[in-house]
Amino acid sequence: MANGINELFDEVINRGLCAGCGACITGCPYIVAHAGRIVALDKCTGSEGDCYKHCPRTFFDFDGVSEAVFGKAYPGGEMGQVLEIFMARATDPEILKRGQDGGTVTSLLALALEEGLIDAAVSTRMDAEKAPHGSVARSRRELLESAGACYEVGFSLEAYRSLPAESTEKLAIVGTGCQVEALGKIKREPPQNSPDPRNIRFTLGLFCGWALAPGTFHPYLKSLCELSQVCKFEIPPRPRYSFEFHFENDREAGSVSLDVIKPHINSGCHYCWDMTAEFSDVSIGSAETFPGWNTVLVRSPRGAELLALATEKGILETRELPEEKLSHLKWAALQKKRAAVEKITEKSGSKNDLLHIGRPPEESADILSRWNIL
């Protein structure tokens, strides 16, 4: 059976499942992202395509990808493979100022660049109008420019494509769950004409509940504020229930209720089961009730080494994650899985067909039992 661009559009994009990770754009001359959508410029004659193969919304072989990333089968549970859990924050005041929450991601990338562990970091960077794009940073300055969270879908794996196929640069790639899943698939089945995935030394995952669809959200955001003046977007922890935008200098921050924002959630995000980016080396998110701190999940030995180096060099300070916070995190991660399964079942029309996360009927039952939500 053919699994190419036509199937990608039939099964994923035209069905509203697209997560906006940008993996399909990687290495394909026919697929581009434009105005918040994935667009096929031409009819591709290939019957098999990396676009289909690497999409996180086509069949996801949990054990296969886990083997490729961690060298072992998928353990299941609320948060997948985890070695260590703690809280962290940057010690560098500049990074603390520019980065989101505790600035842990930017700190780790800066360290890796400085130590020569990587040559370039692929992440997302907002343009002057605060629209996200994939970007490649090769210096601390460029890193700081790409720091800070953007809540819109950014197709940012596209930046991996901009690197020449023959590139031998050592890379770190930052991404949300969908992007890290795509990278897992890429590691399992290397792409035709993008750099060798073995060059990806670190995958830094970002916690993500959902992202906003740029097609509708960006024009709305533009109507709210002068985007070029915004220096930071934030969704602060509960009980505040708002989307905030901060300005340079001391101008008062703007805020809208999340109820207004939620209709703009990218439809494909409802089918995501992966809040904590389970196939990364290190996953990082907000520490919620501890403002200015990040929650860090170390998943692989090479992730552990990087964190150890960061603490040793005094770049990060760490503290224990309180037990009740950990249970809340697990609960939230599981809620995401439950919600995804519900939406997926609704879409497929059958409890046995879980689309990308399990083909009927054995695999479906298998993944649900590993998540303890049977």
């Binding site: 001359p29 581009v32 096929a40 990396d50 035709q192 004409n193």
Partner: protein, 646 residues
């Protein structure tokens, strides 16, 4: 092409039919010639324009065929022999004027229109038989069977036109217009043109008409039929009707135009000279009934050989019905019987097929073994799709349109038009042009489609036209769109020429048909004055062109115009403008079949200058064809096609 004004009378020259027609115009002493380019008629005006420096003839390319006939009729009204030329589609444009001109009659100078039809449609988007217009408006019609005869017939047509005071049609076909053959030029008139005068009102001493108004038509309609009967009388003894063959043939062929020689050759090939005769009719409307009736009495079987509509066939059968019972013994063969087709181009082979069937003969030009080899060879030979030339700006325009529409994502579409860019409906234009009808129709259709938002049409509407087409028929449609607040984007593919038909100048080029400087009717100024939003792009700047298209399509109302300006590659060649780039493929970067592009450059982009190297399997530049436009360097995803500036 030799200058037709300087040909030596009595010598033998190799002339194209269209050049022979032009020579006929000169020999007839016409003083005004006008036309609009359209194959297969396009070469007549250039031949006359070149001759204009040696003679006193006024020659122009008009903006369209209706204006062209009006210009020529003006000459006739003022007492000057005048001439007009067009292709079959042009006759429709001109018809609106002509259906009134039949009522008013012409002026003191004869008026002849040469219309070249296109059986087979090799160079047209329709295959109409324009002879019908002569019957429709009751004006005389003749059909030449060779280049030499075309020349003679044009001269004689002026005599007929003046004798009956009607416009006279000479109908050619592509095969007459484009065949080059022996032609013996005649003398050019020695005397100067009469003084041109539009006659004064109530000048009873002036024998010329002083009024050319088509109403009140009851006054003119009855005399028109009298004129037509007079033309019939003249045609009865026309030197262009002739008969060859036995006195009492088993089969009488009635043929006209280019088909005549197919009949003579077919009869010879089948050795039927003693059994079959050919009545060649040079004057086909009104039908010379006495002449035809005389020959109908000599035979029992009649075969009609004419291209496209059974025009003569029907006239003769109508006559036969009127002559009953004298004609009751006749059996008719032709389009009606299915022996020949009322479409497509005929040939000696098709006539041989009909003759063999009617006369019960088997005809086999080659032996069986050779036929088998031919079948094998035909199976080996691939089709060769037509394409835009290497370096053609339309390829860039359609690439931008294709990508722009994909990016826009609302299933936008392009209403096409008539010109080289018509190829946009197929692979060379990436299947982007979705309609093709008359000149200017793309814009008219877009004007209508752009109003359908109220019924839910939410796709962006685009139209495309060429620069020459814009002046020909797009301007009224554009005004209509602006006036009625339609919502569409018109792309004017301005390549600085009427490229399809041979690079004739037009109102935008700053040059007349005879090479004199002319005022430029600026596209931007005209469109802006009409109230459209106007942008100009060089389609070879793909990113800017695509951005402009997206911007225009995103506008929610109004008529937008994007002028895609880049000179036709063939015009560049003619003006010896050197290529901008020297192209090559970096073999280390082209991944061939291993690339995910699936041969984007040769399969999809499809410029003839690109090929697949037989040995390496990688993309390559065909040096014999590449025009050095540099566009392919912009589309290769692996950046393997490199252009070095020259």
């Amino acid at each position: 092409m030799a200058n037709i004004a300087t040909l030596k009378p009595g010598s033998t020259c190799l002339l194209m039919g269209n050049e022979a027609v032009a020579r006929g115009v000169l020999e007839a002493g016409a003083g005004v010639a006008s036309g609009y380019p359209g194959s297969p008629s396009s070469e007549v005006i250039p031949a006359l324009a070149e001759a204009a420096s040696q003679t006193d003839i006024y020659v122009e390319w008009s903006t369209n065929e209706k204006v062209a006939v009006e210009v020529a009729a003006g000459g006739s009204f003022a007492g000057i022999r005048s001439f007009c030329v067009m292709k079959q589609n042009g006759a429709n444009v001109a018809a609106d004027f002509i259906v009134n001109l039949n009522m008013t009659g012409i002026g003191g100078g004869g008026l002849v229109i040469f219309i070249s039809d296109d059986p087979g449609g090799g160079t047209s988007n329709n295959e109409q038989d324009s002879r019908t217009i002569a019957k429709w408006i009751d004006n005389p019609l003749m059909e030449p069977s060779s280049a030499q005869e075309a020349k003679e017939m044009i001269k004689w047509a002026y005599e007929v036109s003046e004798a009956v005071n009607l416009l006279t049609f000479v109908r050619g076909v592509g095969r007459i217009s484009y065949t080059r053959s022996n032609v013996v030029p005649g003398e050019l008139p020695r005397k100067a043109q009469p003084e041109a005068v539009f006659p004064e009102i109530w000048d009873r001493n002036n024998p010329r008409k002083s009024r050319f108004t088509s109403g009140p038509f009851p006054v003119f309609h009855a005399p028109l039929h009298e004129k037509l009967e007079k033309a019939r009388e003249i045609f009865e003894t026309s030197p262009f009707n002739s008969y060859t063959g036995p006195e009492k043939p088993e089969l009488l062929i009635i043929a006209c135009g280019a088909s005549t020689s197919y009949c003579i050759e077919g009869v010879n090939e089948l050795n039927l000279e003693d059994r079959v005769s050919v009545l060649k009719l040079g004057t086909t409307w009104p039908l010379p009934e006495k002449l035809v009736a005389k020959h109908l009495k000599t035979t029992c079987k009649v075969l009609f050989v004419e291209e496209m509509d059974p025009f003569v066939e029907r006239s003769v059968m109508e006559l036969a019905a009127a002559l009953l019972p004298e004609t009751a013994h006749l059996t008719f063969f032709g389009a009606r019987s299915g022996h020949l087709t009322p479409y497509g181009e005929l040939s000696t082979d098709s006539v041989i097929g009909a003759l063999a069937d009617i006369m019960g003969i088997t005809y086999q030009p080659r032996d069986r073994a050779y036929e088998e080899m031919c079948v094998e060879a035909a199976a080996l030979v691939p089709g060769r799709p037509i394409n835009m030339c290497p370096g053609c700006p339309h390829r860039a325009t359609y690439w931008a349109v294709k990508n722009g529409l994909s990016l826009d994502g609302r299933n936008g579409f392009v209403c096409g038009d008539v010109g080289c860019y018509s190829m946009g409906f197929a692979g060379p234009g990436f299947y982007q042009a979705r309609t093709m009808h008359a000149m200017g129709s793309g814009t008219g259709l877009a004007s209508g489609l752009g109003k359908l938002g109220r019924f839910g049409l939410d796709q962006p509407v685009l139209a495309i036209c060429g620069d020459s087409t814009f002046y020909h028929a797009v301007m009224p449609a554009l005004a209509n769109g602006v006036y009625n607040n339609s919502n569409f984007t018109l792309l004017i593919a301005d390549n600085s020429a009427t490229a399809m038909t041979g690079f004739q100048p037009h109102p935008g080029t700053g040059q007349t048909a005879t090479g004199e400087p002319a005022k430029v009717v600026e596209l931007e100024a005209v469109c802006r004055a009409m109230g459209a939003t106007v942008e100009t792009c060089d389609p070879f700047d793909l990113p800017k062109t695509i951005d402009t298209l997206l911007k225009m399509m995103a506008e929610e109302s109004g008529v937008k115009v994007v002028i895609m300006r880049h000179m036709c590659q063939l015009v560049k060649g003619k003006r010896k403008i050197a290529p901008s780039w020297k192209m090559h493929v970096d073999g280390s970067k082209c991944l061939a079949d291993a690339c995910g592009c699936h041969r984007l450059c040769t399969r999809l982009f499809g410029c003839p200058g690109l090929m697949v190297d037989g040995e390496t399997g990688k993309a390559a530049i065909d040096e014999a064809l590449c025009a050095g436009c540099g566009l392919c360097a912009q589309i290769c995803p692996a950046h393997a096609i490199i252009g070095e500036e020259v």
